[in-house]
C-alpha cells in the first residue's frame, strides 16, 4: 500500500488538483463566480499546449505558458459574456454551456484534436520525466501558484473581489469597478487553469475530451466546497481529502471497473453533505 511509486502518483495528483481547485476557488470563493465550466479552461490549456508543440514545434515550456495565456484570454472572454449576471445562476449556466461547447468542439474537430481518440505521448519537461522529478516539478508549480494567489487575495484588489462577491451593487456604489474586477479574476483563474491543463497533459501523457467534462468539474467543485470557499489553505486540505478518500476504496474487494464509479459517488455525496449541512466546508470563510 505504501509503494513509493503509488505515493508519488498520489502526491502529483494532489498537486495538480490543488492548482485546479485554487483557481476555481479564486473565482467562486473569492469573487463569487460559479465557474461550472472551469474544466473548459483546463481543456484549452491542455490542448493548446500539446498542439503547439506537436504541430508547430513550439518548445515545451513556451507552449505550456501559451496554454496558460489561452486560458486567461478565454477567461476574459467569458467575463465579458457573463457581465450581466453574477450571484445569479447565469454565470454557472453560461460557463457550463461554454465548457460543453468546448468539449463538443474537441470531440468533433477531429483533424486537429483527434476527437475522442485523444492525444497520446505528451512529453514532460526535459530532466523532469521520472515520477519523482515530475512530482517535484508539480509541487514547485503549486508553490508558485499558491504564493501568487496568496498575494493577490491579501492585497487591496483581493478585498475588492470580496466586496464584489458579497455585494456587487454596494461595491459599485463605493466606486469599485466590478466589471474590471471580475474580468481580472476570470483572467487569473482562467490562466492558472490553463496552466494546470498543460500540467495535466504532462502528468497523464494523454488527453481526450472526456477528461474535461461534467464528471471532472464535480471533483473540482468538491475540492473547493469541502475544503472551504474563500480559503487557500482550505483548498489544499480539500484537495487532500477529495483525492485520498476514494483511494481507500481501492483496497476494498470491489471490481476495479467499479472504482471509478465509487469515486464519483464519494465526490457527489461529499458536495451534497457540504451543501446540506456544512456550508463552510472544513476551513471556509464564507458559506456556500
Amino acid at each position: 500500500m505504501f509503494n513509493p511509486a503509488y505515493l508519488m502518483y498520489l502526491g502529483t495528483l494532489i498537486a495538480l488538483f490543488a492548482i485546479m481547485g485554487l483557481s476555481f476557488n479564486l473565482l467562486r470563493g473569492f469573487t463569487g463566480l460559479l465557474n461550472l465550466g472551469h474544466t473548459g479552461f483546463i481543456l484549452i490549456g491542455a490542448y493548446t499546449s500539446i498542439l503547439l508543440q506537436r504541430n508547430l514545434g513550439v518548445p515545451l515550456i513556451l507552449a505550456w505558458v501559451a496554454g496558460a495565456i489561452a486560458g486567461a484570454i478565454a477567461g476574459i472572454v467569458i467575463s465579458i459574456l457573463t457581465r450581466r449576471g453574477k450571484g445569479d445562476v447565469v454565470v454557472g449556466v453560461m460557463t457550463l454551456w461554454f465548457m460543453i461547447v468546448l468539449v463538443v468542439i474537441a470531440l468533433s474537430w477531429v483533424e486537429v484534436t483527434r476527437g475522442a481518440l485523444g492525444i497520446v505521448g505528451i512529453p514532460r519537461p526535459t530532466g523532469f520525466e521520472s515520477p519523482l522529478r515530475f512530482l517535484t516539478f508539480s509541487l514547485a508549480v503549486l508553490a508558485v501558484v499558491y504564493a501568487f494567489l496568496h498575494r493577490v487575495t491579501k492585497s487591496p484588489f483581493g478585498r475588492v473581489l470580496g466586496a464584489v462577491r458579497d455585494d456587487e451593487l454596494g461595491a459599485q456604489t463605493l466606486g469599485k469597478n466590478a466589471l474590471k474586477a471580475r474580468m481580472v479574476s476570470f483572467m487569473i483563474g482562467g490562466g492558472i487553469a490553463g496552466l494546470s491543463g498543460g500540467l495535466f497533459g504532462m502528468f497523464f501523457r494523454y488527453i481526450d475530451p472526456s477528461s474535461f467534462y461534467i464528471a471532472q468539474i464535480v471533483a473540482i467543485v468538491a475540492i473547493a466546497y469541502v475544503g472551504g470557499l474563500a480559503s487557500l489553505p482550505g483548498t489544499l486540505l480539500g484537495t487532500v481529502i477529495v483525492v485520498l478518500a476514494p483511494e481507500f476504496l481501492r483496497f476494498l474487494p470491489f471490481d476495479p471497473e467499479a472504482v471509478g464509479a465509487m469515486r464519483q459517488i464519494v465526490f457527489s455525496v461529499l458536495v451534497l453533505a457540504v451543501l446540506l449541512w456544512f456550508p463552510k466546508g472544513v476551513m471556509g470563510k464564507i458559506e456556500s
Binding site: 460559479l34 461550472l36 459574456l81 450571484g87 445569479d88 445562476v89 447565469v90 454557472g92 449556466v93 453560461m94 454551456w97 461554454f98 460543453i100 461547447v101 463538443v104 468542439i105 470531440l107 468533433s108 477531429v110 476527437g115 461534467i214 464528471a215 464535480v218 467543485v221 466546497y225 471497473e257 467499479a258 471509478g260 464509479a261 465509487m262 469515486r263 464519483q264 459517488i265 465526490f267 457527489s268 455525496v269 458536495v271 451534497l272 451543501l275 446540506l276 456550508p279 458559506e287 456556500s288
Partner: protein
Amino acid sequence: MSIALQLLINILIPVSLFSLIAAGFSVFFSVSRVQHMAIGASIAASGYGLFALSSRIGFPLAFIGAIVASIVVGLLANALVYERLQKRRWFSEEVMLVASIMILLLSQSVFLFIFGSQPKSISAPEWMYQRLEFATISVTWGEIALVCIAFAALAGFALYLRYSRLGVAMRAVADNREVAEVIGINTRRMRYITIVLVSCLAGLAGALIATEYNLEPYASSLQAVRAYGRTIIGGIGSIPGALLASVLTDGAENIGAFFVSSSYKEIFSFLFVFVFLLVRPWGLFGKKRD
C-alpha cells in the same frame, strides 16, 4: 421526396421524446426555480428499472414499474435535497443547481456501479419490431406507438397545465410565488405535485428511450443537459416552447447530419443554446425576468 419523408419520421422520434423531457424540466423550473438536472437521474432510473424488471415481470408491468421508479427518484430528490435546501440560510439558485448536478452524478455512478459500463438493450414485445413500409418510408410499429404515446403525453400535459385547477395553480406559483402563497396556494404541495408529474413524464420518456435506443450509463447527463438547453431556447415554463426548441435543435441536427459530416452536428445545437443565453436568455416564449 422519399428521403424527406424518411427524415421527417426520423426527426419525430427524438423530438417527441426530448420535448417531453424538456417540457418537464421547463415547468418544474418555472414552479420551483430549481434547475432539475437530476431529471437525468429519473430517466436513468426508468431505463434501468425497465431493464431490470422486464425479464422478470414482463414488458408491460415493467414499463409501469419503470415510471414508478422515475417518480420515486424525483420525489426523493425533492424531499431530501431541494425542500431541505429551500430552508437553509445559504439557499440560492446556484446552490440548487450544484446540488441537482450532484444528484445526477450520484445516480449515474450508482447505476454504473450496479449495472456496469456496457450498453444494455431491452427486448420489447415482438409486435413492436415489425416493419411497416409504405410510400417509400420504413418504420416499425414500435416507433409509431412511441411517437403517438409521447405526443399524447405532451399534449395531455399541456392541456392539464392550461385547463385543470392544479395546472392553473402551478402556473400561478410559476408566475409569482409570494402572491400565490398569499392567495392560499400551498406552494410546497405544488412543488411536490409538479415533481411527481414531471418525473412521470421523464419516466415515460426514459422507458421509451431505453426501448428504442440502447441503455447507456453516461446518457443521463447528456439528457439533462439537452433538456436544459431546450428550456433555455423555448423559454422557462413553456411547453410549446420546449416542443419548438426540440423541433429546431433535433431538426437541425438530423438535417445537418444528412448534409455535413455527422460529427459537427452536435456543435450546432450547443452553440445555438449558447447564442440564446447571450442574446435572449428568456427563450422564445418565456418572460423577461429582472
